[in-house]
């Protein structure tokens, strides 16, 4: 993806020169207290105009190697880049405002139904604008959830450095180009570095990012970035296999086609054996 607003704010830590060193698996050099950095980043949080593409346009490699230098959320440049578009969208919609937005959405749906040639007064369609508006709000409820709120309590110190995989998480999202659903399964694996997370929280992270208008590539990356930022693990891997209704119900109409995207961070990217182990363990027999 190209375009979108290029972030002009640079974090102060980036002003010092660092050389990108490929091949080093990222691992925090100092333990940092998660709770403290949350306080810090709450203070440093900046409101930026929404520019989701900014997150994806930055080179992922920078994000990976920067992890070696920075600790905690507030200092991480991906975090500040995330602030550009991500945080604006993380809470771009307040749950309390949903009720008040319904009339406008309902009117829009009445226009759509009439424009499609239907009779909006017949019994089956009388309350459809309201139901469709509420359904749409539910399917995009990820806009008023943030990862920080969900993950804060469930990160535990555990002396475990083996791969942890949660696979076959059902995912339902909306294609941002046609507003038609796409759905499939998400497989998440990570190698903790002294911090493990509650397993259902991985599924909740999937929920937050999938219940939005999404592109499958971006969804994969956002899930991976969220987990790597929260836990600072040795590596994160996310694989999504989905069927896109925009391809199945319309357009080319290929029923059995599936789209697979993946995001490999840290050791999963650097070490082919680790990646292979993850892929072998998530293969569906």
């Amino acid at each position: 993806m190209t375009g979108g607003r290029v972030p002009t704010v640079r974090h102060k830590a980036e002003a010092t020169s660092h050389h990108h060193q490929p091949g080093i698996s990222f691992r925090p050099t100092r333990k940092s207290d998660f709770a403290d950095t949350v306080q810090q980043q709450v203070k440093h949080r900046r409101r930026q105009p929404a520019s989701m593409n900014g997150v994806c346009n930055q080179s992922m490699v920078t994000g990976v190697t920067d992890f070696q230098r920075f600790n905690g959320f507030a200092e991480h440049p991906a975090e500040s880049k995330k602030a550009m578009g991500q945080r604006a969208l993380d809470t771009s919609r307040k749950e309390s405002e949903d009720e008040s937005k319904l009339p406008a959405l309902e009117a829009a749906y009445v226009t759509i139904l009439r424009g499609l040639g239907e009779n909006t007064d017949r019994q089956g369609l009388l309350k459809t604008p309201l139901r469709a508006a509420k359904a749409m709000q539910f399917l995009t409820k990820g806009y008023h959830e943030t990862v920080y709120d969900i993950l804060n309590d469930a990160i535990f110190d555990e002396n475990h450095e083996e791969m942890v995989i949660v696979k076959d998480i059902d995912m339902f999202s909306l294609c941002e180009h046609h507003l038609v659903p796409f759905f499939g399964k998400v497989h998440i694996g990570y190698i903790p570095s002294k911090k493990v997370v509650g397993l259902s929280k991985l599924a909740r992270v999937v929920e937050i990012y999938s219940r939005r208008l999404q592109v499958q590539e971006r969804l994969t990356k956002q899930i991976a970035m969220a987990i790597s930022e929260a836990l600072q693990p040795i590596g994160v891997a996310v694989v999504i296999e989905a069927a896109h209704m925009c391809m199945v119900m319309r357009g080319v109409q290929k029923m059995n086609s599936r789209t697979v995207t993946s995001a490999m961070l840290g050791m999963f990217r650097d070490d082919p054996k680790t990646r292979e182990e993850f892929l072998a363990l998530t293969k569906n027999k």
Partner: protein, 224 residues
């Protein structure tokens, strides 16, 4: 409730009191002209833009810039059944054939929109009929499914409309339609039951009256 149409009834539709289903069918068939679709687009686009903003999205960003147009076109495609009529589709492909054994077209993929939430539901349609001297081109059965499914539908009504359309066109001994579908409105939202399927069926004529015939149809459509 819907009674089985008799032959005389079918030949003189105008003289018969219309049932609620026929009323709906007549209104919906060709309630939208294909030529008007282009001119309806701006209103649909504006509506979609309102929806995107109301959901808290930024309509100026690159991914969403042309989404109102694409979504409006997609919705028009998914409801294109409104400008198709069964008679136009079927008229040419009915043949006189001395065949009075069951004919089944099964596992026809079907994609429709739930009229209550405007969320897709999809599944398979199995159609069987016992011809009475008239058979129909097999793909026409699938086309009938397309006409009625590409609308805002309720699964019960969809199966009945397909069955009644075939019954009226061919006047066979009997028609059976079974639809098994997954409703995204139940899977993606609401109760969120992922593996649940809804099965509806419509049996007309000899399929309704004779249990053996019905049994034969049901066992033949069972997946092996």
């Amino acid at each position: 409730s819907e009674s089985v149409p008799s032959e005389d009834h079918l030949r003189t539709r105008r003289s018969v009191k219309k049932s609620a289903l026929q009323d709906l069918q007549d209104h919906q068939e060709q309630s939208r002209k294909l030529s008007e679709d282009e001119s309806n687009l701006p209103a649909l686009q504006a509506a979609y833009r309102t929806i995107l903003r109301g959901l808290g999205e930024d309509t100026e960003r690159q991914g969403l810039a042309r989404t109102p147009l694409r979504a409006a076109r997609a919705m028009q495609f998914l409801t294109k059944g409104y400008h198709e009529s069964v008679f136009d589709t079927l008229n040419d492909a009915i043949f006189d054939e001395d065949h009075d054994e069951m004919v089944i077209v099964k596992d026809t993929d079907m994609f429709s929109l739930c009229e209550h939430h405007l969320v897709p539901f999809y599944g398979k349609v199995h159609i069987g009929y016992l011809p009475r001297k008239k058979v129909v081109g097999l793909s026409k059965l699938a086309r009938i499914v397309e006409i009625y499914s590409r609308r805002l539908q309720v699964q019960e009504r969809l199966s009945k409309q397909i069955a009644v359309a075939i019954f009226e066109a061919l006047q066979p001994e009997g028609v059976a339609v079974v639809i098994e579908a997954t409703h995204m409105c139940m899977v993606m939202r609401g109760v969120q039951k992922i593996n649940s399927r809804t099965v509806t069926s419509t049996m007309l004529g000899v399929f309704r009256e004779d249990p053996k015939t019905r049994e034969e149809f049901l066992s033949l459509i069972k997946s092996s």
